[in-house]
């Protein structure tokens, strides 16, 4: 068991190194001279030369990479060129915001998508099924920026129920925090809700046709018991796996939502950084996200190893 864990951890090291090279290589793909982009409208040649020197842009790319990796290994992700703040501080300030947003979205998707999927499977080819399908299809196809702006117009401008944008820390005021986060979380959840609904529906349909369900019914069990105790328990497994993947997707999907609702999270940080050619921030954020994914994967593998006796062999 210990050897398996150690092997798994060792395998993730080259993955992280590879990711770091890709992350660093990304700056080569971005067109435009960063020093020129940074120098602002005036384009003062002396300043451009100075910026090149400060941020090592005058060095060959491999040396820039080594300088960066050296700093990262010492826990220094660099400094934002635009804000003159340590990237590490920015990441730790923004990550919880996006995590809250993504968690709320997955919660909404679970509470809405799964029951909708169950209902549409049980009431197959009825008006309820068609209705749920229309909702799901809209959820997938409506662009989030449009949905966001429409919700702002309805709930903030016309009804005045919710603030149109902004963010309040939960530690300052939990109710205010929820008020500002509910609309963005809903917008962010729309696609996931639809995916959950579709998957729950098809999994339920498959399970409801299986022999053991027929047996349960033949035993004379009441329908709710058949559906919730017998069918759903099996049908939900692939949806739970999907949920884990979707959580990752939501973290990256938050980029647009945060932009619309002006939520100061991870997504907004990286969008601003790309437009301003703030490489240190782009690299830091992508590296943190990628490392996070690798770590979660590692955890998943280890948990799988623990719960699945066949793997321990």
């Amino acid at each position: 068991m210990l050897t398996y864990i150690i092997r798994r951890i060792l395998i993730s090291i080259p993955t992280i190194v590879f990711v770091s090279i890709v992350v660093f290589g990304l700056q080569l793909l971005l067109p435009g001279d960063p020093a020129l982009a940074l120098a602002g409208e005036e384009r003062d040649p002396q300043l451009i030369a100075e910026l090149r020197r400060i941020y090592h842009l005058d060095q060959p790319i491999w040396r820039q990479y080594l300088i960066w990796v050296g700093n990262v290994l010492q826990g220094n992700l660099g400094e934002s060129i635009r804000l003159k703040m340590p990237v590490g501080d920015l990441v730790t300030a923004k990550l919880p915001v996006t995590m809250q947003l993504a968690s709320m979205a997955i919660l909404i998707a679970t509470c809405v998508g799964i029951p909708m999927g169950i209902v549409s499977a049980v009431k197959k080819e009825t008006i309820l099924d068609y209705g749920a399908n229309v909702v799901a299809l809209s959820g997938i196809s409506v662009p989030s920026f449009w949905l966001g702006i429409m919700m702002i117009l309805l709930f903030s401008v016309n009804l005045g129920w919710l603030p149109a944008s902004g963010f309040v820390k939960p530690s300052e005021s939990l109710s205010q925090n929820l008020k500002t986060m509910i609309m963005p979380a809903f917008v962010l959840s729309s696609v996931t809700t639809a995916i959950f609904m579709r998957h729950t529906r098809s999994a339920m349909l498959a399970v409801l046709r299986s022999d053991y369900v027929r047996t349960a019914r033949a035993k004379g069990l009441r329908e709710p018991r058949v559906i919730f105790r017998h069918a759903l328990r099996n049908a939900i497994i692939p949806v739970v796996t999907l949920g884990a993947i979707q959580l990752g997707e939501l973290m990256s999907g938050a980029v647009l939502t945060e932009q619309i609702f002006t939520i100061p999270g991870f997504g907004k940080l990286i969008v601003d950084a790309v437009f301003n050619r703030d490489y240190a921030v782009v690299q830091g954020v992508v590296l943190c996200t990628a490392t996070g994914f690798i770590f979660l994967n590692l955890c998943a593998d280890l948990i799988y190893f623990l719960v699945n006796p066949r793997m321990r062999g």
Binding site: P31, G32, D33, P34, L36, A37, L38, A39, G40, E41, E42, R43, D44, P45, Q46, L47, E50, L51, I54, R82, L83, K84, M85, L90, A93, K94, G148, I149, I152, L153, S156, V157, G160, P163, A164, S165, G166, F167, Q259, I260, F261, T262, P264, K268, L269, D272, N276, R277
Partner: protein, 501 residues
């Protein structure tokens, strides 16, 4: 009895004062960069600096220089030095006194701090001398009239030397100047909060107790926030929303033509591309291009008539506009004649355009207009930072590019048309323009400078290296209870006089 009543009265006064607290929430179009006057580079940051940091001088709505930290200023007879008399009794937010030494320190920091964005604005300054605690003398190597205008912006902002020395390059995390508002907090990409500095030398002119700046990038969302009451005032309302806001009785609107322009830079002599560029061949082809364009039509079609058509580096409303060189009328027949005289038929070129809706629309309107004279114009959309690089390398025929504008006309002109100008991407060079530019800088006399600008306007109208097209207008929208807002052509929000009724 008295003992009970007095504290109660005091409490009553306190609560009524607290309830009268005025909080102004301003929606910004972007998140400002670092709040250090030396290291900052964005326009949006300047809006926030207006409250935080006082400058040596300011401008009014007619672009006249007005005193701020300096109460008087005078040029030396040879125009190579300016002496400033400073306002007495001014304090920084940390309680330190603002004096000549603080001015010397701040200007020196703008000139010498590593990575300073101010250096290029005031690099003509050779020495800064403290004459006495109230007097500073700034000397240059040669006459440079635009210097005073530079001191009306970040290069003229005076910081607390003690705070700046203690904080080093992290000064921007908690800026300490002598402005009417002091820094309270900043949450990156979310808000910047400042509160009234009671010891400010002009505190009586500022009625709002607290100002919160909220960056909201999307124009539609910014407006929705104003409508729902989350904002009291917003800057850079989208041109497409102007008509709707003007009609809305629940909103107030303000606008003013800015200092900037958008024009077409033609590659006349930058690299190999200039050799094959048909527009570089003969000035008559460039003149034909200009005569094919109806500037008013661009303004009407793309900006619903809200911008200002223009043919110079300053808008027609600016005191420096050369009135003897007005906007020429569109004349397709004459344009065709000029092309014929130049011996070209169907000249073909590519217009490089930075990505974005408005720029693309302008390019399309120009394309269809010049087609009537026989030009075959192709449009090439390029991401902004990339387009700048291509422009500098000379990898373009013509480039649709804007400039945000400066208070002194020199800032809108010299870098773009002087032979060695840092932004002269088309590499236009004319000895007559060069001589006239020198004249505009060497005297602070308005008439003499205006005469030199007239000469330049004539040469540019003939050589046509950069047809100017239009001047953007600043649009603000606000809640009707916001009173006393005065638009100034630099597009910044001055907080003096603003009240919440």
């Amino acid at each position: 009895m008295k003992r009970v009543v007095l504290p109660l009265l005091a409490l009553g006064l306190l609560t009524s004062a607290a309830s009268a607290q005025q909080n102004l929430r301003i929606g910004l179009a972007e998140d400002p960069d670092i709040l250090d006057p030396t290291l900052a580079r964005t326009f949006v940051g300047r809006i926030v600096f207006m409250g935080l940091c006082d400058k040596l001088l300011d401008i009014d709505k007619d672009l006249k220089l007005v005193p701020q930290l300096a109460t008087e200023w005078s040029w030396s007879p040879d125009q190579t030095a300016v002496t400033f008399k400073l306002r007495q009794g001014v304090k920084f937010h940390d309680g330190e006194a603002m004096d000549a030494e603080a001015v010397r320190y701040s200007l020196d920091r703008h000139l010498n701090l590593q990575g300073s964005f101010r250096r290029s604005e005031i690099n003509v300054v050779k020495s800064i001398d403290v004459v006495d605690p109230r007097t500073v003398k700034v000397s240059m190597g040669a006459p440079f009239a635009p210097l005073l205008a530079q001191f009306t912006d970040r290069a003229g902002m005076i910081l607390s030397p003690k705070a700046a020395k203690d904080a080093g390059t992290s000064f921007g995390a908690k800026p300490i100047c002598s402005g009417p508002y002091k820094f309270v907090e900043r949450v990156q990409q979310d808000r910047i909060v400042v509160e009234k500095f009671k010891e400010h030398w002009n505190a009586g002119a500022y009625h709002v107790d607290r100002v919160t700046y909220l960056p909201i990038v999307d124009g539609t969302v910014r407006l929705a926030n104003l409508r729902s009451g989350q904002l009291d005032l917003l800057e850079r309302l989208q041109a497409s929303d102007v008509a709707e806001v003007k009609k809305d009785s629940k909103l107030k609107f303000a606008s003013l033509t800015g200092l900037g322009y958008t024009g077409i830079t033609i590659n006349v002599a930058n690299g190999d591309r200039a050799k094959t560029n048909v527009l570089a061949k003969d000035k008559r082809i460039r003149q034909a291009l200009e005569l094919s364009i109806d500037r008013d039509a661009i303004n009407q079609v793309v900006f619903t008539g809200e911008f200002k058509a223009g043919n110079q580096w300053v808008p027609p409303t600016n005191p420096w506009y050369v009135k003897s060189a007005p906007i020429p009328k569109r004349d397709v027949a004459k344009a065709k004649d000029l092309l014929k005289a130049a011996g070209v038929t169907n000249p073909s070129f590519t217009l490089m355009v930075p990505t974005g809706n408005e720029a693309q629309q302008v390019a399309q309107v120009v394309q269809s207009m010049v087609k009537e004279s026989g030009f075959d114009m192709k449009i090439q959309q390029v991401e902004f930072a990339t387009s700048l690089q291509s422009a500098q390398k000379g990898d373009f025929d013509a480039f649709l590019i804007g400039w945000s504008g400066r208070v002194d006309p020199d800032g809108n002109l010299t870098a773009f048309i002087a032979c060695d100008g840092g932004q002269n991407d088309g590499k236009f060079c004319s000895p007559q323009v060069e001589a006239a530019l020198k004249d505009t800088r060497s005297t602070s006399d308005f008439e003499a400078r205006a005469l030199a600008y007239e000469k330049i306007a004539k040469v540019l109208a003939d050589e046509m290296p950069r047809p100017y097209l239009y001047h953007p207008t600043w649009f603000w929208a606000m809640n009707p209870k916001v009173d006393g807002f005065i638009p100034v052509p630099d597009g910044l929000i001055r907080l003096s006089g603003i009240k919440m009724n």
